[in-house]
Symmetry: C3
Subunit: 202 residues, 3 copies
Amino acid sequence: MQIQYIFELIGTIAFAISGALAGDERQKHDWFGISFIAFITAIGGGTIRDLFLGSYPLVWFNDMYIIYAIAFGILLTGLFYKQFSRWRTTLLLFDTLGIALFTIVGLEKAQHLGANPFISVMMGMFTAVMGGVIRDTMINRTPTVFIQEIYATACIFGGIFYLILESFGVERNTNFILSGAVIAFIRVITVKFNLSLPKFYK
Amino acid sequence: MQIQYIFELIGTIAFAISGALAGDERQKHDWFGISFIAFITAIGGGTIRDLFLGSYPLVWFNDMYIIYAIAFGILLTGLFYKQFSRWRTTLLLFDTLGIALFTIVGLEKAQHLGANPFISVMMGMFTAVMGGVIRDTMINRTPTVFIQEIYATACIFGGIFYLILESFGVERNTNFILSGAVIAFIRVITVKFNLSLPKFYK
Amino acid sequence: MQIQYIFELIGTIAFAISGALAGDERQKHDWFGISFIAFITAIGGGTIRDLFLGSYPLVWFNDMYIIYAIAFGILLTGLFYKQFSRWRTTLLLFDTLGIALFTIVGLEKAQHLGANPFISVMMGMFTAVMGGVIRDTMINRTPTVFIQEIYATACIFGGIFYLILESFGVERNTNFILSGAVIAFIRVITVKFNLSLPKFYK
């Protein structure tokens, strides 16, 4: 559990960085604007999930470590954003860790609150991707999740995988790690080999 | 009630189709992106209403038929989107059925939860139009509801009509049908004769 | 308290005007579209705050005076929008009054609901600025709060100032006025001398 929480904080930092990097030079965002986008990217998914489930207090309400993690991500970006363009692979790994963990954490939370399997998987995926959707909507970009890579789909597959293992009685911690690994694996493979979902309109 | 529920599902399918059609070829949305937009278009209005009213669980939380209806709408669009451009009138009728029903359903739900008449009418209109507003915001289009046709205004008139009939003691099912018909009538007439609200800035 | 409420209504009118002015002539918004944007600008911040805090009913649910204030703001804009371009300073003062009051009102509400100091200040700032963020997102404009003036930052400083005075035992009404004045002062000074936060990307 302790280790899982540390992973969650790492995922939060990764999401904060991806938010801080989203405002580009043309748009001339100031420090506040960048921080705002970073926060929303990092906590947006969990917030939407909790609002949809009616789960109060929201996840960040009593947990200052989440706030510190986001602040740390913003600071890192401010100091190293030039290097970050060269560290693309490192960032991808962090982000992949983030969505893998957030998906399963979100799925489990929905389950505990009585959601059926379909809704649980959706809530897991929402936890992982909605921060990015809100980020892109706010900066008037087509949400990348709609057009690029098998991002959300990896979360959905990982969520389904978790439910299948669970129905076979696999122990929870093992399941958590295996399902998270499935998400990370799909994501890394599809980015490496540049795979994507078929376009809707032929 | 059973018949009303079937109408609601038809309205949901219509909204899902309008969502799936919203991502156009230029934007190269993949299947996931299209499905996501279709879901949000179909459940967005009811979700916003329930969040605003604090009504949990949200409307789609325990009702898989709504999910099936949306999936069906997406599938239809994937198979027939080329024909849909020729079936514009058919789609308009479905969509009109959808907003007529959703407006009155939303209004009644708000009333049951203690909303005053103004808020009830607004919640009815929100139920009908907010899915489309979120859809358009996500694909970076000016929400059509702001600039085209007397769309939301038809919902507001229908909602007021419902409250007036109710105050005269008209029986609920009759009222439901009459008020829904008012919304559908206004919408069809204004589309047919290309009427629109006066522009705000002269 | 009575006086504070009147100030809040004035702030609401100012926010409604800024919303109604946001749809420009090119976009050809009709009366409904303008009214919708004005409502969301005026109540968006308080609504987001209440949703995040799980505080039901939402602030506008039982208070028709807020609705009247917004309607009045829309009417004023419809009648005088040409003059408003010349009254820029007057509008700025109203808007400044609005964010000053909304920040402290939002902060106090979050405190009463058990938020820690950081979250309280954030909720105060959210109450003041989120209406404008949603407004700009809906009309596909980069939210001005991200790029212009020390707007949200003034709210954050005022909120911190409030908490400091409170910790020194300053009486609440005095604190309310002083902290609100700090926000208004920072905002007016920065607009007058055209100050802004440093850009994030050098």
